[in-house]
Structure formats: C-alpha cells, structure tokens
Amino acid sequence: MNAPFRLPLTPDAASDDVVIVQNVSRHFGSSRTGLFGRRAAPVVRAVEDVSFRVPRGSCFAIVGESGSGKSSLARLVVGLLRPTSGEVTIGSVALSSLDDAGLRGMRRKVQLVLQDPRASLDPRMTVLDTLAEALTVHSLHRDRQARRERIDAVIGMVGLSQAHLTRYPHELSGGQRQRVAIARAIVCEPEILVLDEPVSALDVSVQAQIINLLADLQARLALTYIVITHDLALVAHMADAVGVMYLGRFVEQGDVGDVCGAPRHPYTQSLMAIAAQVSPLDRDRPATVLEGSIPSPLAIPSGCSFHTRCPRARALAAAGVEAVDTADGRLARLCVEAAPLPHPAPGGRSTAKCHFADQSLPDQSS
C-alpha cells in the first residue's frame, strides 16, 4: 500500500488517459481548532491512497457502500475537494497547479451530475435559466441567438422538448429532472462527466431510460464517464473498468470483465453475489452474507481493513492457517496484522488487495 503502484492495464495507452488519479488521499477534521482551545478531533480518512487512470472515451466506475468514501473521491476528481496528498490530473493539467479561478475554468471540461435531481436543481430557476447559467458561467455562446440554438440542441439531445424549457423543476417528473441535470452538464461541451449515483433516486421503470440515454450520449459526444454507484449490476452494464471501494481504499480494481466476472476479493465477491439477477427457482442456494457493518472511518481496523467482516479470513483460520483471536472471532493472522498489497490477477488486467487473493477456497458460504 505504501509503494505507489501503476495500474498494469494498458500501459501503452498512457498518453490517452484523460483522468489520472495518483495516490490520492483525503482526510477530514485533522486540523480543526475551536476558538477556545484545540479540540482533538479524530481524523476521518475518507479516501486513502487511491490511484486509477481513465482512458478517453471509456467509463470508469467507483463502487462502494455508504461511508466508503466514494462521494469524496468523486469530488476530488472534480476539484470540489482538494486532496490531502496525491495528485489528480485532468487532460494534462494537474489540479494542484490551479487556483480557485483556474479550477472553476477547468470545470467546463469536467462536469458533475448528482444523485437526486429533485434537490440538485435550483427550485427557483426554470430549465432555460438553469441551462443558460452554465453557458454564462463559462462565457460560451454569448450571442443570444447562438445561445438559444445551443440550448435547443441540448434539450433535444436529452430527449426533452422546447416546451420543457419554461418549466420549473417541481413541474417535472423525476426522470425529466434527471434529464435536465444531464443537459446542464453537457451544455458547455465537457469532456468528462462524473455521475454520482445517476439513477438510484429514480423509479425502477425510469432508470433504464436514463441509463440508455447516458450510453447514447457517451457514444455521440465521445464523453469519458466516471460513475459512482453501489450497484454492481449497473457497473457490469456500463463500465469498462471499475474500482471497488471499502473504507476509503480500492480493495479491487481493473477491467470490469475481470472484477465483475471473476471477483477475487471477498468483498467484491459478496457484492457480486447480491447483485446477480436471481432466478426464484434457485433462491434456496445460500448467498454469501457478510456479517457486521462497515466500521467507522474514524477507527479503521488494522492490517487488512476488511478483516473484521471477511469470510475468507475466517475460513482460512478454520482451515488451519496461522490465526489469532480477535473481537470478531478467530481470523488469519496475516489479515489482522499486515496491510495487503495489490495482487495482480493472472491476466494482469485487475488487482485485488487481499493476502489470499490467489488462493481458491472450496466453499466460503457455510
């Protein structure tokens, strides 16, 4: 974990990586002082030593549960948060080299689409105002006529009509609102869209529409996507590469076919087992159920941070690997005491941070 590592995937395509995140960490609450004396505020390690690269035109997914730090990571990429250490490079510009005004200019290239369109649009602005604001902010299409043409074109692209332009957000349905949020993001012709749970606040029957729209736009506008989600099924559908996040770190990352098709980290395995479409006929087959809940990011467990819930560490201890007794039961010693390094998969297209990633076990479900 300490040695900065480079993803083994596509080492030759480095020149076309449009987003490069290198060993980025973000800690909260480290230097908080009150007016009357210093309060020893505990440090939240929201993001810890995360690295990945996104080639132009591809889709990278960040998967995790609440508290995993995936939203902080999204905001680090957009530049809404500045990293405690590490570097984010967009295009060929390092974000740390930019001041606040420079970052604002950079956002023309990198746009963020938020989860809940009901809350992410200003209730007092019409759709037209919302879209026009994006152009005003970046001084694009200053001519009135050109501006209107651009807005008309974009509103058509997201599947709405000009009649929607005069509406306020509360006069639109959930799906329409999310289309407006997407329109606002693409109106100033960005290269990269960061999508934070783009469909999870929508009705099931509308989700598919939005997912198709996003895929369509990506193809038409040659966009690069970074998708934040908790849904591995969505990842398997949309993404080219994925990073699975647990307590601020990537526990497994790489090509989506590898990670979703043949997960090697026990956490990814259990997420995948839940996400897989189930046929009611084989529902009595026991699924892997993780015990316990995510530990507080204030107190990240020693060694491998997943060891408190890891079925593999438990199974290995039972199978006779050198073990220690902990509050969470008898676990493999290595898992409790040493932080795992990334182990590349056989094909070299993904890595898993698990001491025993390459060890196949007979059955972990019991």
Partner: protein, 658 residues
C-alpha cells in the same frame, strides 16, 4: 417515510399551468387565498396608506391646545375625545401613524441592512468570522431587548431618531442569526454543489442561488419583526423615552393617558387599539408568509382543519360491518384477507383515489411481496392494512380488511388497539425515524411487551432480553440501556423488528425494510426475517420497489401499478414467466437481465402516472408495448383474471404465453 413517496406523486395543483405569471402576482395570490393573509395584507396596506396621507386627513390641528375642552369623551366634534391639553385625539392618532410606523420601518431596515449581510458572510466564510460573529450575537442576546434599547437611548438621548437606532440595533442579532441559519441550510442543498461544480463563482452562487432562496424566509422574518419592533418602540414611547412631546406617537400617547386611566379610560383605548391592530396585521401577514415559505407549516395548512371533525366520523363509520361476513377463523383461514379495498388521499380538491380495488390474502407462514414504483399506492395500502392510515390524510372509500378472521376496519378505538397489539407488527423503511430518539431501546421494547399484559418488571426485562437475542443482537443486557442513535442502521432495524415481534403477531408488515440500508446489511436483515418467520410461522406482507429482492425472499408476489394489482401469484410463476407487460418490462429493464454489455436496456417509455391523473381504460396503456392503441385497452379497466395459474389484469395476457 414511503407514504411521503406515495404522496409525492400527488400532482401539485394550479402550478402546472403553462402560462408564467409574474412572481410578485403569484406571491400576492398565495397570500390572499389564506384568510389570515387577506386580512393581514389589507390591514397593513390600510396602515401604510394612513401613514402616508394621515396628516392630510386630520380634521383638526393636532397641536392646538384648548384648555376649555380638556379630557372630553368622544363626541361628534371630537370622535375620539380630547386629551389632557384639549387636543383632538383623532387627529393626533392620524398624524401619529407616520411616526409610529416610520420607527418600525426604520428599525427593521437598519437591522436588515446590517444583520443579513453579516449572517450570509458568516455562513459563507465559516471559520473565525463565524465564531466571532456568533459570540457577539450571544453577547447581544444576553440583554433582554427592551433593556438593550433602554441602554441605547440612555447613551444617545431620547428622540425619534435614536429610538429607530435603538430598536434597529436590538434586531440585528436576530437577522444575523436567521440569515446565517437559512444560508447554511441552502448552502447544504445539492443544487448549490451542482452550481459550484458547474464552475460558478462564489459571488454568482450567492446572488443567483442563495439570495433568491432565502428571500422568502427573510421577508417573513422582517414582517414578524416589524410587529415586535413596533411594540418595543412604542414601549419606549410609553416610558417617556421615545418621540418627545408635543409630537404625537401612539406609544407616547398611551404613556400620557396612564395618569387618567381611572377617570378617563377612553384616552388609552384608541392609541392602544391602533397599536394592537397594527401589530396584529403584521403578525397575520407574517404568518401567511410563513405558511408560504416554510414547508413544515405548509403541510399542516393542507389539512383543511375545519372539516377534520366530520372526516373523522366518516372514516370511522365508512366501511359497513361487511367485514363481519368474513369466514370464521379456521386453521387454514388466511391471516390477512383484503377485498375490494379502495383508498383515497384527502386533498384540497377532494378525494384522489390512490388504491383502486385491491384483493389479496396471505396465509400463515407465507410472505407476500407487493412490488411497485412511487405513487403506485403500495405504502398507503400497507398502512391501511395495518390500521395505521391517518384518517386525516387517507380515506377508506370501499372494501374490507380482515386480520386473523376479524374485521380490521371501522372498529372503535379500543378494539383497534387490541388488534394492533395482538396481531400486527410493523417495520418501516427508515429505522432511524421509527425509533423514538429520546427513549432508551429498553424502554421502547418494554412498552411493547407490557401493552395489554400484566407482567412484572423482571419478567418484562427478561422478555426484552430474549427479543433482542431473537434478532441476533449481542450483549442484550447492556444494549437495553442505550439510545437509538448509538446503534448503526442495521442494528436499529433489528430493534424495530424486535419491537414488532414483542406480542407474537400473526402478521408482520414491512414497508421497504431494507431500502435505506447498505447492500451487505440488506442481506442480513432479510435472512433474519426469513429465519424468524420459519420459527414463528407468521405471515409477512412486504412492500418494495426491488424485484430482485422479491425473487430472493418472498413466496408470492403482487405487482402494483397505479393503485391496482396488475399481476399476482406464486413467485416462481410470476417471475419466470411474467404475463403482464409491466411485470415483463420491470423484469427485463434491470441491468444484467441478459442484455449484452453495451447493448441498450429494454426500457419502458414514459413515467408512472400521477395519482388521480390516470388514462381511461388500462392505466398502463400509454406505456404499453403490447397495447399499440388497440381499442380493447382503452375501452375499460381490464379485470383481474386467472391466466396460467396467476391473477393478471391484462386483456391480452395470453399473448405472452405463445
């Protein structure tokens, strides 16, 4: 609160008109439709007119003393009588309006112009600016307001201008504090982050997003503060420390009348009345504005209070005792039997039907899952079955519900309580809000255990501990003393389940029990519920939007669309070979349902209909790939019928079989 989700699909009335009126007119209209707003605004306008043209209206010289005519009662010559110096009180009141209201306007303006920018600055910059400002506000608020105003007057001297400064300074902390609070809450809104992510500069965010969104609250506050400023300023006048004689001001006039209260009470009547009514006018207007801008008070206003009394009676008496006709409870009798249930939301415009004729039964030991989107009416249905539908919001317009063979609707309060106690347990989506934050877990569990039983304290405690063990909570003795916020989300949901199980219910109702939880925790809760069901053999009614969850967990499934069950039957039957086009689409549109990677998903066009705005015939018709404008679909609501061993409400259900 998934009931809120159902309610969210209620169309927002009158505001979906396509014409866009001027916002000022919209605001005016929204004030005037409220009685208090109409009265308040009218009075405020009258007072302001009075302040402007009052001196011109005054019939007599308000300053001319006439010692032959002192302390006269009201008469034709002097409508409000004369004062101790023989001056016409009516004329003095008309002239005093300008000073009195002017002090109020001046004071609020001073406070607004200083307080609001300070508050916004503190919220935007945070850090030491905020700390210093909040400290300063604390200090200023340590003086009772009239005392602070007295101090200012003592420093500057008593005159009209200094009174304006005094009452203005007193209100600065109130404005600053409120402006900071509302700015903070607006800044926390995702649309602010959206705008920042767009690249908008701080100045732009403040001007275009923060200010418009806090203006309503500030307008409300200004109006309400105007009333209290008026009263404090006149209070200073009353004490002889405000506007100085001979110039008339209502508070000063009241102060002068004090010596004559025994002999000439009318002297105090008119200035007091004018003062009180002006404060009332601004308070009424402020209340009306608050109703418009404060969402929490709006919900209360939606209820049409005067009709509640009638409603309560109708709700209690609506379903005739038809439920009594239900079959007597035998060993195989269903735990829940719902027949022809219709439910409607009460809105300002009347009833909006949200559940439109639902029949269902659940037998002991079985789990029925109702799957639907927001607005389908699934949560409302669940609450009605659990006898928990709020009669002020939901009307039961037809149908029967029987639980354990006993009718569950239209019962007297005591019988409803008994039914809830013995037969029903309920689990909500948001465990955090389903537990009372100020009571220990032990107290809340004990209450459920004790209800209707005569257990001693020790037995109750033992039972609570056993219940926590049942839901796999370790170290139950210690947990009893803890408060809900000390548990994680999954643990809270376990506690809610333990409470629901306290009286060994025959029916467990679960409203999206896992949607608020992380995926790995969801699995734990579902496994727990299934385990408990196996041990106790109760019936479970589960409401969810997640078809995948259903496949894993339920025995039977009922798919709900626009208030009706469009397809229901055994889980394997329905999910393996769905016949209703909506069920088919739900099944096919989820990612991972067999489409190739990069292939588009099979999506359903359009969106779920709003409650009360359904198309004629089949409600799914406009979105249905099978319908294709066939006349049969528009002709009538398709009846539920048995096709291939499940109930399905589609005229062309058989087409899916071939």
């Amino acid at each position: 609160m998934s009931l809120a989700q159902d309610m969210a699909a209620v169309p927002e009335r009158a505001e979906s008109t396509t014409a866009k009126p001027n916002p000022a007119w919209t605001l005016l209209r929204r004030i005037l439709v409220q009685p208090k707003g109409a009265v308040g605004l009218t009075l405020v306008v009258l007072y302001l007119v009075l302040a402007v043209i009052g001196p011109a209206l005054a019939p007599q010289d308000a300053f001319r003393q006439n010692f032959a005519q002192t302390l006269r009662p009201p008469s034709a010559a002097h409508w409000f009588g004369t004062d101790q110096l023989g001056r016409d009180v009516f004329s003095r009141i008309l002239i005093g309006a300008r000073a009195t209201l002017g002090i109020g306007v001046g004071g609020v303006t001073v406070a607004f112009l200083i307080g609001v920018p300070l508050g916004i600055l503190a919220a935007w910059r945070r850090g030491w600016i905020e700390a210093v400002l909040m400290r300063a506000i604390d200090v200023m608020l340590s003086f009772p307001d009239i005392v602070f105003a007295l101090a200012v007057v003592a420093i500057l001297g008593a005159n009209t201008q200094n009174v304006i400064i005094a009452v203005g300074v007193v209100s600065i902390p109130v404005f600053a504090r409120t402006a900071r609070a509302v700015t903070l809450s607006v800044l926390a809104e995702p649309y602010i982050e959206g705008s920042v992510a767009l690249g908008a500069s701080p100045a732009r965010v403040i001007m275009r997003h923060v200010l418009p969104n806090i203006s309503g609250t500030l307008l409300t506050l200004s109006t309400l503060l105007f009333a209290s400023t008026l009263l404090s300023a006149s209070g200073l006048g009353f004490l002889g420390l405000g506007t100085q004689p001979p110039f008339p001001e209502w508070g000063t006039m009241l102060g002068d009348s004090r010596s004559y209260i025994r002999s000439h009470p009318y002297l105090a009547t008119f200035p007091g009345l004018f003062l009180a009514v002006s404060a009332l006018a601004f308070n009424l207007l402020g209340d009306a504005l608050r109703t418009i801008y404060d969402p929490t008070s709006r919900r209360a206003a939606r209820r049409l209070p005067m009709l509640n009394f009638l409603r309560r009676r109708t709700a209690a008496s609506a379903p005739p005792a038809a439920g009594l006709a239900a079959a007597p409870a035998g060993p195989d009798a269903p735990v829940v039997a719902v027949e022809g249930l219709h439910l409607a939301f009460r809105t300002g415009e009347g009833l909006l039907e949200v559940v439109r004729g639902v029949d269902l039964t659940i037998c002991a030991g079985r789990t029925l899952a109702i799957v639907g989107e927001s607005g389908s009416g699934k949560s409302t249905l669940l609450r009605a079955i659990g006898t928990l539908a709020n009669p002020q919001e939901v009307a039961i317009t037809a149908g029967t519900v029987a639980i354990g063979g006993e009718p569950a609707l239209g019962l007297p309060a005591a019988a409803v309580r008994d039914l809830r106690r013995r037969k029903i347990g309920i689990v909500f989506q948001d465990a955090a809000s389903a537990l009372n934050p100020v009571l220990t877990v032990g107290a809340q569990l004990a209450e459920a255990v004790r209800a209707g039983s005569r257990l001693g304290p020790q037995a109750v405690r033992q039972r609570c501990i056993a219940l926590l063990r049942d839901v796999n909570i370790a170290d139950p003795e210690r947990r009893l003393e803890m408060y809900p916020h000390q548990f994680s989300g999954g643990m809270k949901q376990r506690i809610v389940i333990a409470i629901a199980l306290a009286q060994n219910p025959e029916l467990l109702l679960a409203d999206e029990p896992t949607s608020a939880l992380d995926v790995t925790i969801q699995q734990q809760i579902l496994v727990l519920l299934r385990e408990i069901q196996r041990k106790r053999g109760m019936a479970i009614l589960l409401v969810t939007h997640d078809l995948n969850l259903v496949a894993r967990f339920a025995d039977d499934v009922a798919v709900m669309y626009a208030g009706r069950l469009v397809e229901s039957g055994a889980i394997a039957t329905v999910l393996e070979q769905p016949l209703h086009p909506y069920t088919q689409a739900l099944r096919a549109s989820a990612p991972g349902a067999g489409e190739g990677r990069g292939q588009p998903l099979r999506s359903i066009p359009g969106e779920p209909p709003l409650v009360g705005q359904l198309p004629s015939g089949c409600a799914f018709r406009p979105r249905c790939p099978r319908s294709a404008n066939r006349a049969e679909c528009a002709a009538q609501e398709p009846p539920e019928r048995m096709v291939a061993s499940r109930q399905v409400a589609c005229v062309f259900a058989e087409e899916a079989l071939s």
